[in-house]
Symmetry: C2
Subunit: 155 residues, 2 copies
DNA sequence: TTGGGAATGAAAACCATTACCATTTAGGAG
DNA sequence: CTCCTAAATGGTAATGGTTTTCATTCCCAA
């Protein structure tokens, strides 16, 4: 666990402190968990993971911290339709990993895909520019998701 | 109110009956309300609107019917981040009105836009084709939303 | 080291949605 | 038209993810 004692990577600390927020063990641990997560954790899953290394953690802090991280832009919050929010680090030590999601409406599986990002960027920049002008709407973020049946669920 | 007594437009009945579902007053009224809705109603808003003309309605029926309508594809269900689902008729008597949404993250306002649909279609058909091939994922639906600040909230 | 506002955590509250179940109803068979 | 039965309904209770409350703890600038 980098950080606490040494200085560790701390790639996110700059942004964090820059916003005037305090560095705390819970926050650090939550980000730690998110950065190691395979995928799309729910608040409770994050709670359980953090709890293993920091048993004093409270579920409330998980929610509060996630909200904060989403605010800052360090974390994305998704709704894949299973009744609970899912969270994912927006960027890692290696920078932003731009991707979108395929959601299976039958089994709930979520596939990340990074293909065709160029096409998306092209489409998005065009559209966003036009929308901004026409509606005077300041776009900060966007969401693209495809729903359907995964390989297994088609049979 | 078309339907019940006369035959009215009943543009949706075909699809409805075709699926083996019964025609009932609650269902009819709910669709009626949706078709007249200015925009993006929540379950409770639909309940209140239906209640005015059909006081015997139960909230449970609202939810069940909406689920059904979403299933059939007559209604779209959205999550604009305000903690409750929002519903919108997928097609009206005049056919499908393809559009996307701009969501203000400050005041919650949702703007429908129908512009640049051609660009979206172009991008989508390309992307969907490629994704289908690569991941063998059968895409049935998609979601595109832009988040940011509306005109009023930028100041 | 210290003061004070920020952050935390346990428990209770919130609230949109769902489950249950007794009652009603649509609509096809006769 | 009348019956019959599975489908549909609606009131109520339950669920469960998320928020609120508030007393306690902690970060960190001075
Ligand atoms: Mn992802
Ligand atoms: Mn709309
Ligand atoms: Zn699947
Ligand atoms: Zn706004």
């Amino acid at each position: 666990m980098p950080g606490r004692n040494g200085k560790g990577p701390a790639w996110w600390r700059g942004k964090f402190r820059g916003c005037g927020y305090r560095l705390t063990v819970p926050r650090e641990t939550i980000i730690e968990v998110l950065s190691k997560a395979a995928k799309h954790l729910s608040a409770e899953e994050i709670y359980l993971a953090v709890h293993k290394v920091y048993p004093a953690i409270g579920l409330t802090t998980i929610y509060r911290t996630l909200e904060l991280l989403v605010q800052i832009g360090l974390v994305f919050k998704f709704d894949f339709g299973d009744g609970r929010a899912r969270y994912e680090l927006a960027e890692g030590p290696k920078g932003i990993r731009q991707h979108y999601h395929l959601v299976c409406t039958n089994c709930g599986r979520v596939i990340d895909y990074t293909d065709f990002i160029d096409e998306a960027k092209e489409f998005l920049s065009q559209t966003m520019k036009a929308l901004t002008e026409k509606y005077n709407f300041k776009i900060a973020n966007h969401l693209i998701q495809f729903y359907g049946l995964c390989e297994k669920c088609q049979k």
